[in-house]
């Protein structure tokens, strides 16, 4: 079912606004990732959708209907909690059956549904285990099966992979995405791990201090961050601070045009490591730097280049490994960057869609 939030605000007495006018629309069948640092309000937003917390202002619509008057019991929302919150004193079977028992379904029907789900989450044979006897990944799957048992219209997951080992986490999140596609449910998950959000979400909601910074596809959020915060929070980046002089700003020895900024504007340049290319030095006009660190990352190398004034982190494809020698000088060029105006006293920043023009500073 679709979800719509209209100007949701949440304030706790004596504190800054936990949520400040959040509006968004989620289409049926989408998987959305709420991404942000702790305290950004992402979990509060999820809890408001579930009905576990009441917003101070604004409306929540599920399937086009306002649900503000409905308690969590009536919202038909399945929730997977952080650390799973499995019923400790119940077996896996009883945990999954709980929602069905509450609905007073027949024993036979409950049994069939639980068995079906056990098979679905690949936990057959573990139905008589207690939660303490399960590994993190297994517990997570039980929590998911329990939430799905009453056939909710919406699935909400609060930091679902936070307590799981890295390797299992990767597998598990792909599997959760498969489950989402398979059931055709609308899902929202909360995470502070940008990699997780970018990998499995259809769209990512980046939050900061109770406000939406950006809501877009992973590609948009990564490649076209519309604020300095998003550029910082999503993905690795090089940061360069400078002042405009003569409508230009210097990035080390490279200088770029900033036509519509008055001189003396403080700017913050963000360059993704993938947007810097290195090659062999071919002419005296090349901008160069010295390789000072190389780390192997599997499919590519993470390389640090030191120039006269700055140090840049660059992703270098495997094919170029013949260049990677500590102490060697290489030429580098920028293929893309983002420029934000620095506003001291404010967290807001402006989008500046500049075209790239690279020229060696004279």
């Amino acid at each position: 079912m679709s979800i719509e939030l209209r100007r949701i605000a949440k304030s706790y007495t004596g504190e800054a606004l936990a949520l400040d006018g959040v509006s968004l629309q989620v289409k049926e069948g989408e998987m959305i990732g709420f991404l942000g640092p702790s305290g950004s309000g992402k979990t509060t937003l999820l809890r408001i959708i579930a009905g576990l917390e009441k917003q101070s202002a604004g409306e929540v619509l599920i399937g086009g209907k306002v649900v503000d008057g409905l308690p969590p019991q009536k919202r038909k929302v399945g929730v997977v909690f952080q650390n799973y919150a499995l019923f400790k004193h119940m077996t896996v079977y009883e945990n999954i059956a709980f929602g069905l028992k509450v609905q007073k379904q027949s024993k036979k029907h409950i049994h069939m549904r639980v068995m079906e789900l056990l098979q679905y989450v690949r936990l057959e044979g573990l139905e008589n285990r207690y939660p303490q006897q399960l590994s993190g990944g297994q517990a997570q799957r039980v929590a998911l099966a329990r939430a799905l048992a009453p056939k909710p219209k919406i699935l909400l997951l609060d930091e679902p992979f936070a307590a799981i080992d890295t390797k299992v986490r990767r597998e598990l999140r792909q599997w959760v995405r498969d489950v989402h596609d398979d059931i055709g449910i609308t899902s929202i998950f909360v995470t502070h791990d940008q990699e997780e959000a970018l990998e499995i979400a259809d769209r990512v909601l980046v939050m900061n201090r109770g406000k939406i910074e950006q809501f877009g596809t992973p590609k948009e959020v990564y490649e076209a961050p519309n604020s300095l915060f998003v550029a910082n929070f999503v993905g690795e980046a090089n940061h360069i601070y400078g002042k405009t002089v003569d409508h230009r700003v210097a990035i080390g020895e490279i200088s770029v045009d900033v036509p519509d900024k008055p001189d003396g504007t403080n700017v913050h340049v963000v360059i993704r490591p993938k947007d810097i290319r290195i090659r062999e030095i071919m002419s005296d006009d090349d901008v160069t730097g010295e390789i000072v660190r190389v780390s192997y990352k599997g499919d590519f190398y993470g390389v640090d280049i030191a120039t006269n004034e700055l140090r840049l982190h660059v992703y270098v494809p495997k094919e170029q490994d013949y260049l990677l020698e500590i102490g060697r000088n290489v030429a580098y060029e920028l293929t893309d960057f983002k420029l934000f105006e620095e506003r001291p006293m404010s967290t807001e920043s402006e989008v500046n869609p500049y075209h790239i023009e690279i020229r060696k500073s004279s």
Partner: protein
């Protein structure tokens, strides 16, 4: 070598201490009780006055366990769940019955409910007599054992993840259902432990009860006072016999509680062990 000697020394000291403090006195009671043979023992414990006292004591102790089982659970719940102002003070007050000498607790009851107090007079005018009635015994026992259930339920509730309840809500469970299926099972071991402690302690209560009961034979006399009376009359064999019965009841209550908690923890341990096996594989 030295360590071994030291360990042995520590063991001997502790055993000796326990022997002196618990085992020997208990043994002395038994010796005394059976000093004139089993017949004398039986006749001592089947005296009508003694039996009435025992019946009253056990009945009141059971009531106490039930009352404090229920109210203690509620108080524990309120203390843990409601962030009331003055919660800390309330939490400290809970332990007062342990701190106040029990005879003083009894005295307080007399001053509050006695026929000379305004409250006691008012109650008497409405046909309710508290002091020198079984009701007074019950009140005294309830006060003295008040903290037990609270203190055994509290940690379990504090440990309970509130998200477990929230999960139940999102699965459609109303609050009564959540209480029955989630909260009660979690609190249960604490409630049973609290009840059995209340029972044992109420069974043996002397000071507070003696002050308020009036100690009328066949009516408001409890076993502890009955055996005290026997001793006063130089019937040490009779007193010892009644003691043995009280001891046995207390012992069985304790045993039951140990058994109940052991069964609970053993289940927990079994789960943990199984998990270790699983991980090991």
């Amino acid at each position: 070598m030295i360590r071994q000697i030291r360990a042995r020394l520590a063991f001997i000291t502790i055993s000796g201490y326990l022997l002196l403090l618990i085992v020997l006195p208990t043994g002395a009671i038994f010796t005394q009780a059976f000093s004139h043979g089993a017949d004398k023992f039986l006749s001592a414990i089947t005296q009508p006055i003694g039996l009435a006292a025992l019946g009253l004591t056990v009945r009141m102790a059971l009531f106490t366990a039930v009352i404090n089982g229920i109210t203690g659970t509620i108080v524990a719940f309120v203390l843990v769940r409601f962030r009331l102002p003055g919660r800390r003070l309330l939490n400290a007050i809970v332990d007062l019955p342990f701190a106040i000498p029990t005879t003083v607790s009894g005295l307080m009851l007399i001053f509050l409910y006695g026929p000379t107090s305004p409250l006691g007079a008012w109650l008497a005018a409405h046909g309710v007599k508290i002091i020198y009635s079984p009701l007074a015994i019950l009140l005294a026992m309830v006060i003295v054992t008040f903290p037990y259930t609270i203190r055994s339920v509290q940690p379990l509730l504090e440990e309970l993840d509130p998200r477990m309840e929230e999960a139940a809500w999102t699965l459609g469970a109303q609050q009564t259902r959540v209480f029955r299926s989630i909260l009660l099972p979690v609190m249960w071991p604490g409630i049973t432990t609290g009840c059995s402690l209340c029972f044992s302690r109420a069974l043996s209560e002397f000071g507070a009860v003696v002050m308020v009961a009036g100690n009328i034979p066949m009516h408001t006399q409890v076993s502890a006072y009955y055996l005290y009376g026997l001793l006063e009359n130089y019937d040490s064999q009779g007193a010892a016999s009644v003691s043995v019965v009280l001891l046995a009841i207390s012992f069985f209550a304790l045993l039951y509680q140990l058994f109940a908690t052991r069964r609970f923890t053993r289940n927990q341990n079994k789960r943990v062990r199984l998990r270790e096996l699983e991980l090991g594989r």
